[in-house]
Symmetry: C2
């Protein structure tokens, strides 16, 4: 599942152009336990825990915590163990960058205020730049448009997810019919085993399996428990599978037994919102307008969705674009009313949560592309449905 | 498993004293997907995703992403949904803090440079403080000494881990004898199912199950795969279970089949280092000295351990203290040669990794306490072994 070296080199070339056009000699990104930055994986293939230095001389230096892991997975011009630098970013700057003289170095916007302040104060000869709309945002925008290689990996992750869904529907129907003592744990581990046996390298995030008493929590804690799954009411299952580092993300609402009219109504509003969102999506809306149309749909019934309508997926379970009215119609780059970008892979996932009735959420994944038409005509949008989750009635 | 409200109130009182003694009116901590800060859980019981504001007026305001989750789990004087503030820290400052006039506000040291800079520039009337040795470090040091409530939860997590280890040893011996086609996935999900059925709310981190071809990676990717687990050589299994939010952390090295003399030697050096570390630990060493003694033990044979000897465990899988020579004999508070603190729960986990021979790591968890003796005598250390992982020979 490793990508060829050339893919990472091409991606890095785009970052080098960013550096050159901004008069920046070096950029430093860091991925660690306290602050994950999957852009390091996007640019090198290295799975996790590293510092990555990119230079306007078109050189990538990867400094991994685990050198053996890097040797196996990573594409870079130079690989140096983090242990050589006492696992310390200051030492890395001193040894690899300081000798270069008076230069501009861009630091990842994810780095902490005290760390960046210390670097600025320690090396006054270097012009450190660290800004919200900087290199992380630039790479985030690259990652928003999946290239053909990424689309292949995401489609494979979604295929595994669809096969798992089919097997899961059967498992749940049979378990319910047999009045089995199936717990949330049984369901979650059945899902994980199934997807992994089908070739996934793991779940993209901790699966959520919430039976009726807990389904009104958006992110229940614990994610699954020893509770009997087949208790009457509304249940929610939310999971995703990784393939080649890229994760899918689906949610199915489940009505168990004879549910109340109000519960049925809550579920119907969610599926109604889902259908409406798909219709709107096919009209090539501005992202903020799409989100606003669903918020309005719910508000018309006096209801509120407490999370965004959807988000990009990829190396992270949550990537650009965020499909939410809280963007207030502006993209990260300041653009007014941005539309979906060519190659975006997004979720649509309306949900409602009521402490008395329970929760319902329906979520699937979509690839957005555009047909380019003749001059003067607007490009038309293609919305490719990648996953096929649907409500289940037991 | 929820703690009584009084426990969180007591913990917050210690933070209020910190604020008062530093002339700070408010402190702001944040836990989100991009930057985890379990100190919010330590102080309120809320599982994840929130902003927490503590004031010198002894008031805690929790601003959770999921209000239903907070209602169920959290202790705070005031709970306000994050949605009320457009999920935006600036809006929170404007509405809850700005009206207080000219004051000092300490921001978590985990916040990003651009965010803190924006707050400083937007609200010049507020004296924002954001420093490495600040509030996060203060709370980290509180968390380093586990209170009686935390010890109970950690001991329970370790009991579940020990029971799982016993069941796992049997599972592996029987599977190997039967020449079963057991994969790394089978092993990992067997472990997870066993611990959860025994009452754990989940693994403390993604379990690592590396058969001989991958055991030389410290953090193999993927964490477990479809590979047959019972291939001859050295394998490693690393897992931990959460109870009440607190996680254990153990590793067992496994010799499968007739291993080479060099592989046996590598394993023996790891178990030798482990025994030596325990002996030293019982002599109440400075933390840095303990780490240095094991580094020297390996260096005497021309070997290098590429990670630290151990670390604290608790709400995070990695907490203070870090048992490493990279501390260079200084604690986070600047103390020279600090010793272990009363109530620390730590791992000891020497390991060696060779791309040809494979890897070996042995890890268990220990509670450190001290007997207070009569005046003039030094307190004597108690090292309570909480878990019982050991090498397995198949």
């Amino acid at each position: 599942m490793s990508n060829p070296d050339s893919i990472y080199r091409e991606r890095r070339e785009r970052v080098y152009s960013y550096l050159e056009s901004g008069g920046i000699e070096y950029a430093i990104l860091s991925d660690n336990e306290k602050s994950r930055n999957k852009s390091t994986t996007y640019l090198t293939g290295h799975p996790s825990d590293c510092v990555l230095i990119l230079s306007s001389a078109h050189e990538a230096t990867l400094i991994p915590w685990d050198i053996n892991l890097a040797t196996k997975h990573a594409s870079a011009d130079q690989i140096l163990p983090l242990g050589n630098f006492e696992r310390n970013l200051k030492r890395i700057v001193e040894e690899l960058i300081l000798p270069s003289g008076k230069i501009t170095v861009e630091l990842s916007s994810l780095l902490s205020f005290p760390l960046v302040t210390e670097l600025k104060e320690s090396y006054r000869g270097i012009n450190f730049v660290c800004r919200e709309e900087g290199i992380d945002n630039f790479i985030g925008r690259l990652r928003e448009s999946k290239d053909s290689h990424e689309r292949t990996l995401l489609k494979k992750a979604c295929e595994i997810t669809n096969e798992t869904l089919e097997i899961l529907y059967r498992f749940l129907k049979e378990g319910y019919a047999k009045k089995s003592g199936t717990t949330e744990i049984d369901v979650a581990l059945f899902i994980e085993r199934t997807g992994r046996k089908l070739g996934s390298e793991g779940t993209g995030f901790e699966s959520l399996v919430a039976s009726s008493a807990r389904s009104h929590e958006i992110h229940p804690y614990p994610e699954y428990s020893n509770t009997n799954f087949f208790t009457r009411g509304l249940a929610v299952i939310d999971f995703g599978f990784k393939y080649g580092g890229y994760t899918s993300d689906v949610t199915l609402p489940i009505a168990i037994g004879q549910i109340q009219a109000k519960q049925r109504d809550l579920l119907d509003r969610v599926t109604g919102a889902y259908r409406l969102a798909l219709e709107k999506l096919k009209e090539n809306p501005a992202i903020g307008e799409l989100a606003a149309s669903i918020d309005s749909y719910f508000e018309a019934s006096g209801l509120t969705m407490p999370h965004s309508l959807g988000h990009g997926i990829g190396l992270d379970a949550h990537e650009l674009p965020l499909i939410s009215t809280s963007r207030r119609g502006k993209s990260n780059s300041g653009e007014e009313s941005p539309k979906f970008r060519e190659g975006s892979v997004i979720t649509i996932e309306p949900g409602l949560y009521d402490p008395e009735l329970g929760g319902a959420r329906l979520e699937n994944d979509f690839l957005i592309t555009y047909d380019s038409k003749g001059s003067g005509e607007a490009a038309s949008i293609n919305v490719e449905e990648l996953t096929f989750s649907k409500p289940l009635f037991l």
